[in-house]
Symmetry: C3
């Protein structure tokens, strides 16, 4: 997108706004990269390189990190047209001293960049530097329901549980990259990190004895009927809100349909069907807890897991465009006091999301998720939302990052598009002054996150 003076002015003003990033997969005890392998081990790069022909040998856990990086960079001339490549160029320029005037990163740059990263990332204040360069004020995490969150209370890190990546099965590593660098024992900047209760496991895996064991361990309740399940959930929510959690979240397949189950049905499923098919009802109970504990409930709708069975780690999930927010009609009606920030995976569903947010006070469009997080989809979806949803309800963006270095390039991409859309849709036609447009953009970038999540 071309940037004339007006767009540059707006973008420049927006870049001064401190960020509160309402969704990420950051591990507060290992928030920044330790090597370039942490950056390029991000699934966007492994899946694009693999899709473009790279074999999976070097993607194995025990492969040499430098070799892996070399190979992923070597394949870049097959995917240097993508938005994800542009993020990497931004990272290389901002953090690794890559020459501003060079327009391309090529195979021959791999070692230089790897070495620069080794040196740069080893600085003791690297985390603080990244936070400062990204103007990051706070960032939300993704925490399993039984995460002890002891770092929020100053406990030693080796006592704490693992932050599970909700996109992974229990046998996969919990970090985005393949590296095994040790984590800190306590966050260096605890105030920056905001816990968020991720509930996929509770909704979709309660039939696994191990999950029920974990739920009993964290809550003290042996779940055997609706009442004990409700009490266990309340304990989990209490644990999270006491430790500063500001949101509950879940990702959902396109076919999912929440439903209120009566207690007898819950009993029946637990006792006669081994806790299977309880998902719709557990979802409903979690919404009840969100109401009782005043937590917004982030819904991320549309993902089918493990579609490409032999895909790279985290590069196996896709979607079916045939889905509808009508599945959530009953929930939106039944919980007027719960705020539902909703992300949809497909741009084709954006008009539904816009219309539901236009009509339901408790439904809000939330960011640009995954397969819709590239410029053409962001531009389209953002423009549609901006012209029909109250501006105080638009949660503009989140990074979804696994390492803090990605906050800056991702938000940078978003701000550039936002500045263009504000200029084209509001300022050039005389509907809004430049100042008002910047204020509107600030609502999307920051104000609404603060208001919705009470941070």
């Amino acid at each position: 997108m071309p940037a004339d003076q007006l767009v540059q002015n707006i973008e420049s003003e927006l870049s001064k706004v401190p960020l509160i990033d309402p969704h990420s997969h950051i591990d507060p005890l290992s928030p920044v990269s330790r090597s370039l392998d942490d950056i390029l081990g991000y699934h966007y790069y492994t899946e694009l390189a693999h899709s473009a022909g790279m074999g999976q040998t070097l993607l194995a856990k025990d492969a040499d990190p430098r070799e892996r990086v070399r190979e992923i960079v070597r394949f870049m001339d097959r995917y240097d047209n993508t938005a994800q490549y542009a993020w990497f160029v931004d990272i290389a320029r901002t953090f690794l001293g890559f020459d501003d005037s060079a327009t391309k990163i090529t195979a021959s740059d791999a070692d230089t960049l790897f070495d620069a990263a080794q040196k740069t990332f080893a600085q003791p204040d690297w985390e603080a530097q990244v936070i400062q360069k990204s103007r990051l004020e706070k960032i939300f995490l993704t925490n399993e329901f039984d995460d002890p969150l002891e770092w929020k209370r100053g406990l030693p890190g080796d006592e704490r549980g693992r932050i599970e990546d909700s996109r992974t099965s229990s046998t996969t590593p919990s970090t985005a990259s393949l590296s095994t660098a040790p984590r800190q024992t306590a966050p260096l900047n605890p105030d920056v990190y905001v816990p968020c209760l991720r509930t996929d496991t509770l909704v979709f895996q309660l039939h696994l004895p191990e999950v029920r064991r974990r739920l009993e361990a964290i809550s003290g309740f042996h779940v055997h009927d609706a009442a004990t399940l409700r009490m266990a959930l309340a304990k989990v929510f209490l644990h999270f809100t006491r430790n500063g959690a500001k949101a509950c979240a879940i990702s959902l397949p396109p076919t999912f349909h929440p439903a209120k189950f009566d207690d007898e049905h819950v009993y029946e499923q637990m006792h006669f069907h081994d806790f299977h098919d309880l998902g719709p009802g557990v979802f409903w109970m979690i919404a009840e807890s969100c109401r009782d504990f005043r937590l917004p409930f982030d819904l991320m709708i549309g993902v089918n897991r493990r579609v490409y069975e032999k895909g790279v780690y985290q590069g196996q999930d896709l979607f079916d465009q045939r889905t509808s927010l009508m599945h959530y009609k009953d929930v939106f009606n039944a919980f007027p006091d719960v705020t539902f920030p909703v992300s949809v995976l497909t741009s084709g569903q954006n008009q539904e999301l816009s219309a539901f947010s236009w009509i339901f006070p408790n439904v809000l469009p939330n960011g640009h998720w995954w397969y819709s997080n590239t410029p053409p989809f962001i531009k389209k979806d953002l423009t549609e939302r901006l012209t029909c949803v109250p501006k105080t309800k638009l949660i503009g963006y989140y990074s979804d990052a696994y390492k803090l270095e990605f906050v800056k390039p991702k938000y940078g991409m978003y701000r550039r598009i936002l500045a263009n859309v504000l200029a084209d849709e509001f300022v050039r036609g005389g509907q809004m002054s430049e100042t008002d447009a910047v204020a509107l953009g600030t609502h999307l970038l920051r104000d609404n996150v603060r208001e919705v999540f009470k941070v």
Copy 2:
């Protein structure tokens, strides 16, 4: 959208074209607003204010109109990014002397605007002024099947029936706003208003004894089988075409599927199932009447009623993107002599509508409806239609207005987008002269409405 000289020229020429508005909810006996409450009581404002946090107390029928207006205006700084807000600014400037240089309407403007409206709308020739300022030549109405339409024959108004708002249940008020100002006894400009037979009630509510009683009252036929239903429908059509009706219309849920029912099946449903589930067959019979009485049949496809159960009046309906024009394949094939102007609720269905209109001589794209009536959707849908459907089949726009004051801002928004699209897609690339582009735009704005509806 920016407007360079070319766009301004095209828009200026298009703004001289007298309008024939082929779909509205205007009441010819109360066509203009009596107070600002009539303007801001329009569901677009109540639903946006409510969605942005306004309570429903002031939306009650007996609430003070001035207080209601103040509250809706007070919430505008939460939705001043929307297209609907821009319509209101246009109304304030055009009709209420709002300062052209002010870019925003704020809470402090509410009383000034309310008072200006009281004075302005009280002028005896207000209706004529609005018609003249909007360059409005004719406007189609939405009439219940048993509307006596006596104003078309010069009968006194207090003898006539009510014009029901087809989006409402029978217990809701028939006008868009909540005010209760008395209506005129006869239209001041009867030639401007064109009756249109709305058939939702017949298709979806024939199981209600009251509806059958009304049908018997207007037609003289006691409906008890397919033959009497056909005769009753014929009487209704005769009544409408004699009184100048130029179209038949219906709005339909995403799942609706018309079907030809044989007479035995109709008999069975009437006698053994209390007139339930006759909709698909009644639709088919209405299409037969459209053929026999040479009326175009407007289809407005995709609305689910009462999705947000506690939403504001007329702000409860939404949609499911999973719908297809394939449901209408049999109807389009069976009635080659019936013209079907089709509106779709979702922009995602616009390619289907474009392709069906490209192939079927009797299918035409009709306007930009409801949730698709904001600039980004209009621009996308219009551009798609313009490059693949014969230009003589494109019915560009309708206001869907409840009060005449909305014709100007809505058509103004449309013309601005149309001028941009004509400039970008046809003139700048050298494919068409500016004059030809204006002629193409005039087809969409006026010529095709005249030809299709024979007005």
Copy 3:
């Protein structure tokens, strides 16, 4: 779309790239038009003229070609807004000496153009002229499974079978137009034409005895179980690859769902159900053959046949937007070594196609098909693909042409859009140099076709 200097430069460079067109319906023995009736008999013109009101009398096989052309041209002032009209203007200017400064073709031009075409198309080197003016290096065909392809081996043409148009039933003529001019006995430029095995008949019509008879005739196998079917298919593939075929292809309805049938099920369907409902399994076996014979398998997904039953020849097919690539999940997983260039009929499915291509190494987006082959859809779909799919996987375009004269205007339209997208998305924002953008465009236009199809 406006074209500034940057866009003009890129377009100019792209127009120098020799074309390899990976999908058409060209008959190598009658590749160019013999009269203007061959051009305007193309279904895009007959269906638009018919949709705009032209009767079908002159579309009959025995109608006078000059009269037919006059009528189709006479109706052009009803569809001169369409992309297809623009193709015709391009053909008239490039090949028929139509005055460059005239912006419109009107009824009065019909005879002049018809006469010019008679004279021009009669030149003995007309085919070579068109190939040269279009910078066409190679073009893929659409061949029925039992096409003898003897022209590839230098056999006399009158011994060869017919190239069926896969969009037609067996009773319709095999060429796009209605003319009956005799074909050559051998291609003048055999190296230009690349056979492609079209498999719709095998997958969807194996229940017809005539189809099984043809399969036995070409393969030598009497098909009566899974084993003989596999052998027959292998023979067909052998015949095609020996004769230079570079792809296998099929078009599929929105509801189609491939499946691996076990041999018993195949036996059952053959012997107890008259070879019905074997489609999903035959598709699977064809994918096996693609693997064994190393042919890419072009999937063209989404077409419903004969929706408009009385439509013009080839103007009867439409689609249902409710379809998903998830139907092909098992196939994509089961055949990692088969390359699947995929075309989707609806732009709404483009994000699925982009995401599947982003993740699956063996899935590639292929061109802009049929109802999505007009500028707004191309621009949207191309931009989406370009920002998230590796550039080496993007097969930019194919002409789908029935006569060689259409290659130039169709590719011309595509290059213009491609140049605009490259300029807007990559060059203006500083992400890529102009030279790199041209190289990227060349990947889409030519390099990837060469690499994917090994031509």
